[in-house]
């Protein structure tokens, strides 16, 4: 009987806790939190709930984001403050309780990613491959399940200079919720406090063997290099704004092509590649002056020079890595290597010429270009003559827009 009344009250609660009358609203809110506290006190944390009750309780979490709760907690008047702290305590319990139930239900929500060696352009690319092709394949129901990601930097060999870029890119992955960075595998279990079931060895960090981001399965890299990928990137809203502002002010009325080339260990563009590409682009732009190119890699300061009007270096104009990824998603086209920028452009179905980051990663020496999507040329070759021919053909088409 009490259970039924309690369920009925919870089902009605979302209406009452938003009631315009202050007294009804506050009384309802306290009643809801009190009933929650009573349930947890009686049954303990992690007690399984039926689906209906679980859903009813979820709305309580919205209390945690209520500015008025913060007003109560931070109030100078003792009663308001005390009520606020009590509510926060109950919400803390509710959150922990819900998380324990979530952990008991789900197969896997935390993925450990090892980086054993230099953190470079390949590792950044592999992050998106892993997200789009490993994580997604591990869920049966194809649902967009939020996951937690633990980056384990296995060695302190001086190869972690780009860890910030890895974190930046991780923030943009659609399914990634929480991101952790650990220095050394042994610290994972130590660094995260948790509650362990007395019946079973059950913890927050139950996980499979860590995937090594530096060594993705070669058949997967080969597959993505030839066929590309889809989705996976969630563009930050203000990055989209900056991107559009940039296009309109830096390259007004131009057809904008994003470009990414091979980088050195510190993330600066390979200058030999850049010199070669600029010679190709200069010839195309003579015929199609509406084409404008945004280079997404950094340039070493000593390599800076006066650039022609159709070349822009986004990162030198105040754009972050996240902004640069955003540029790939909104540009009219993409040319360059299949690094994280190339994959992001490809995932957003941008037309382009996509070149392998490293030909040695391909399984067979198949040299023929394969067009797998409309106006997306996936080149399975790093041969400059073949790239040049594909680039010119692609840019000629785009220049006629």
């Amino acid at each position: 009987m009490m259970e039924r009344i309690s369920k009925w009250l919870l089902a009605q609660a979302p209406r009452w806790v938003e009631h315009p009358n202050w007294l009804i609203r506050r009384t309802s809110q306290l009643t809801v939190l009190g009933s929650l506290g009573a349930r947890i006190t009686v049954h303990g944390l992690g007690h399984p709930l039926d689906k209906e009750r679980d859903e009813h309780e979820q709305f309580i979490e919205s209390f945690a984001t209520s500015p008025s709760l913060r007003d109560y907690v931070q109030a100078r008047r003792p009663l308001r403050h005390w009520i606020g702290v009590l509510a926060r305590t109950l919400l803390l319990l509710q959150g922990a309780d819900a998380r324990l139930r979530e952990l008991a239900r789900s197969q896997q929500s935390t993925f450990a990613l090892k980086i054993d060696g230099r953190l470079n352009q390949r590792v950044l690319r592999n992050l998106l491959i892993w997200h789009n092709h490993v994580v997604r394949s591990s869920f049966d129901d194809r649902e967009e399940q939020a996951i937690d990601m633990a980056l384990v930097l296995a060695t302190a060999c001086g190869g972690e200079r780009r860890v910030f870029e890895l974190i930046s890119a991780s923030f943009m992955l659609e399914q990634v919720r929480n991101i952790s960075v650990f220095w050394g595998e042994e610290s994972i279990d130590l660094a995260v406090p948790t509650l362990i079931s007395n019946q079973a060895s059950h913890g927050q960090w139950e996980r499979r063997e860590a995937c090594d981001l530096g060594r993705m399965p070669i058949d997967l890299v080969d597959y993505v290099t030839r066929r590309g990928t889809a989705g996976g990137i969630k563009v930050v809203q203000d990055a989209r704004k900056r991107t559009q502002d940039f296009f309109k002010t830096a390259l007004p009325r131009q057809v904008v092509i994003a470009v990414s080339l091979k980088e050195d260990a510190d993330g600066a563009v390979d200058t030999a590649e850049l010199t070669w590409l600029l010679r190709v682009l200069d010839r195309v732009v003579e015929r199609h002056p509406r084409l404008g190119f945004v280079i997404l890699n950094r340039l070493a300061p000593s390599r800076w020079q006066r650039w022609p009007a159709h070349i822009r270096f986004a990162r030198h104009q105040g754009f972050s890595l996240q902004d640069a990824i955003s540029i790939t998603q909104f540009a009219d086209g993409y040319i360059g290597v299949l690094d994280i920028f190339g994959l992001a452009a490809n995932a957003a179905a941008r037309p382009g010429v996509y070149v392998p980051l490293d030909e040695g990663e391909l399984l067979a020496a198949e040299q023929s270009p394969a067009v797998v999507k409309d106006r997306q040329v996936m080149l399975a070759s790093c041969d400059r003559a073949r790239i040049e021919s594909a680039l010119i053909s692609f840019l000629e088409d785009l220049g006629r827009l």
Binding site: A64, Q74, R99, R177, S180, P193, S197, D266, L299, Q317
Partner: protein
């Protein structure tokens, strides 16, 4: 907290946490995205951990995407919090005792971590009561640091963001030609998207004259301008003796790493000045707010923090070109006296008199 104990008694769970580490909670629903305060917090954490004989610090940075900032930073919203969070990531990695960094965006996970730590009786900052009360005073004071220094005679020092000090040395050699350099940060909040307290902005004309004066007599000396891409005028890039990392695609992490190896720092009292405060870099921190004196445990017009060295100087008013030149010389001279300066830091004799003529 008896409620919590009661709940755990009835549960089939036991708490596990490493008692040799301090769990540091940075919850942005009541803590600020602010370079200076977050850096001071890192040093506070390190002193706290040292006092308790702890070996590591595990940082948990919590951002609820629906409630990403305090009421004092309303411009940080669900739509842009990732940009702000991304911008300050480097700060956590300056913590000298950092073992792990968790960026949590899920309230449930966060609450489980906090509750587990509390129940296990493991060290946590802030403690549970303070966290539940959402209490954090700003600006973050130096009181704990001053008393730690008084007792032990040193302070934990901020390090360059992880693995970037070696990068900075390589970069200094290959891209800056190994030249002596000062990091500068004249505050320009008025150039940013969310200007605040703009009367504290630095007088840029005085700075330009200072840079040109040094350039004329010590052309080998470089100035590295740090700060957001918006926070400098394009004229700065006209100067051959100025390098702007953000104009070369570098980030806050790179800037802090360059600061760590710089010959000196000169700039307005703000986030970068805080980094200098808690390192051994010689500095002149300019125009410190008089209100800040009580938080720093000093009197207005004091020339040094209690834990500072002789070549770490404070001023409490707007700077002029002449003063900048004098401070530049003084800091370098004191560095040379202390024997910690490289040859490049040593000032030339009679410099002070010559500056007067140059500045006029």
């Amino acid at each position: 907290m008896t409620l919590l104990s009661r709940v755990l008694k009835n549960s089939h769970f036991s708490a596990r946490a490493d008692k040799s580490a301090l769990l540091a909670i940075i919850d942005f629903s009541y803590q600020h995205y602010a370079l200076g305060d977050l850096l001071t917090t890192q040093v506070n954490l390190a002193t706290r951990a040292t006092e308790q004989d702890l070996r590591h610090i595990d940082v948990v940075a919590m951002v609820n995407p629906k409630f990403p900032s305090t009421r004092y930073q309303p411009f940080i919203t669900s739509a842009n919090y990732i940009t702000h969070l991304d911008n300050i990531m480097a700060v956590f990695m300056c913590n000298p005792m950092l073992r792990s960094l968790q960026i949590v965006r899920d309230v449930r996970t966060f609450n489980l971590i906090v509750l587990s730590c509390h129940v296990a009786g493991a060290p946590m900052w802030p403690d549970l009561e303070t966290h539940l009360a959402m209490r954090q005073d700003y600006p973050v004071s130096h009181h704990m640091l001053n008393s730690f220094y008084a007792r032990r005679g040193y302070l934990p020092e901020l390090r360059a963001p992880h693995d970037l000090e070696a990068w900075a040395r390589d970069f200094h050699r290959s891209e800056l030609g190994g030249r002596p350099f000062a990091v500068i940060n004249p505050r320009q909040s008025s150039l940013t998207g969310s200007p605040a307290v703009t009367y504290r902005d630095a007088p840029l004309d005085a700075w330009y004259r200072f840079l040109d004066a040094v350039g004329a007599h010590r052309p080998e000396f470089m100035f590295v301008m740090v700060g957001g891409f918006q926070e400098w005028e394009h004229r700065l890039l006209h100067r051959r003796n100025v390098f702007v990392p953000r104009a070369s695609g570098l980030t806050l992490a790179h800037e802090l790493a360059l600061m760590k190896i710089a010959d000196l720092f000169m700039g307005t009292s703000s986030g970068f000045a805080t980094f200098a405060t808690f390192t051994q870099i010689p500095y002149a921190i300019l125009n410190v707010q008089r209100d800040f004196a009580r938080y720093a445990g000093v009197n207005p017009d004091d020339r040094h923090y209690p834990f500072a060295r002789a070549n770490q100087i404070l001023t409490w008013h707007r700077e002029t070109t002449e003063e900048l030149l004098q401070l530049f010389d003084e800091v370098l001279a004191k560095s040379a006296d202390q024997g910690g300066a490289s040859g490049s830091r040593a000032p030339e004799p009679d410099r002070a008199n010559r500056w007067k003529a140059v500045a006029q």
